[in-house]
């Protein structure tokens, strides 16, 4: 981490969609992210810390209490998780399926596994089509008892939900598929790129006919 990669609290707050005072409050109450300090004592955050704060904020948006979101970020036990970096080409969707297969190898919930693969492929394909061609795509899958969370991050242009919907309308049905399958999802887009996070019910029962959850897209 080079010094110029550190961001000040105002930039970080804008990046993840909270106020600077919220970040100071989280630091005081939960102590999960302890920022670096600059020459004037100002708070500075590295990329790893920003990612942790982004996860916390996403969990809160998805309905978690702040304390629970910080517990999760601090390493709450979970069934399994995996994070892979995929080359930004057309082979990335296949590699994304392999990552899903790796984490769901022992699940008896085959319908859930099928749609988890589908969502991973749609998110990664979207990142291939819209991300910066030279940079890898990060895919993270976290499997808890009731929920699977898939997160795909790509660098590149800032995207809003409206733009993504428009693009989807031109290109196909990827977003509609994700929207129909997800119990909730968010898109966060800023100077560091675009992150799409999708939560799926981790059971076949969550994908029975006529029961597709209630999508709650939130734009940042």
């Amino acid at each position: 981490m080079t010094p110029d990669a550190l961001l000040e609290i105002g930039s970080v707050a804008r990046e993840i969609g909270v106020t600077p005072s919220t970040l100071r409050s989280w630091e005081r109450r939960y102590g999960v992210v302890e920022p670096h300090r600059g020459n004037r004592g100002e708070r500075l955050y590295d990329a790893g810390q920003i990612e942790v704060l982004r996860r916390i904020q996403t969990d809160i948006r998805l309905g978690a209490r702040a304390a629970a979101a910080h517990e999760a970020a601090a390493g709450r036990p979970e069934r399994q998780s995996i994070r892979v970096e995929l080359p930004p080409g057309s082979e990335a969707p296949r590699l994304a399926r392999l990552a899903v297969d790796a984490i769901l190898a022992s699940t008896p919930e085959q319908r859930f596994a099928f749609f988890a693969r589908l969502v991973a492929v749609e998110l990664v394909s979207n990142a291939v089509l819209h991300g910066r061609p030279a940079d890898p795509i990060a895919l993270e899958i976290r499997l808890d008892l009731q929920t699977a969370r898939l997160r795909v991050h790509n660098t590149g242009r800032t995207l809003s939900l409206r733009q993504l919907r428009t693009r989807s309308g031109r290109r196909g049905w990827g977003l509609e598929i994700v929207d129909a399958l997800a119990s909730s999802w968010t898109i966060e887009s800023g100077p560091l790129g675009t992150t799409v996070t999708v939560c799926l019910p981790a059971t076949d029962a969550g994908f029975t006919d006529g029961d597709w959850g209630t999508p709650r897209p939130e734009a940042v």
Binding site: E91, P93, R94, F114, R117, S125, W173, I177
Partner: protein
């Protein structure tokens, strides 16, 4: 799950063709699927059955390729039908409302019978 992709085109004559798709179809294999469908259409077929009986995965890119073929056959009064008995794959067509664009049959034989009938009606 190996998922090796294959797409094989058979022109049956009388404007009818079958494209059998096997394995996992996605962004990477989309050009191959496009080529297989183009082989059917360039060979004179207006009625095309896409047989997904041995397909284990499709995505929105696959749907886009299928819609491209529909846009070619429809102006000529043709039809593209799907054979698929996989509930999960059929659900993808339902989610996107494309089950209203394609006739979807459980078995390839049913799909071919339908297209032969449609072809006969079109010719008549």
């Amino acid at each position: 799950m190996t998922g090796d992709f294959q797409a094989t085109t058979t022109n049956l004559g009388d404007g009818l063709a079958v494209v059998v798709v096997g394995g996992e179809a996605d962004l990477y294999t989309a050009p191959q699927l496009k080529k297989a469908l183009a082989a059917a259409l360039d060979g004179g077929a207006r009625y095309v059955l896409v047989d997904l009986s041995s397909t284990t995965f499709i995505d929105s890119t696959t749907l886009g390729v299928l819609m491209g073929a529909v846009r070619r056959v429809r102006p000529e009064g043709g039809e593209l039908a799907i054979a698929c008995d996989d509930a999960n794959i059929r659900r993808i067509f339902e989610i996107t409302l494309l089950d209203r664009v394609f006739r979807i049959f459980d078995a390839p034989g049913e799909g071919l019978e339908h297209l032969r009938g449609a072809n006969g009606n079109g010719a008549g």
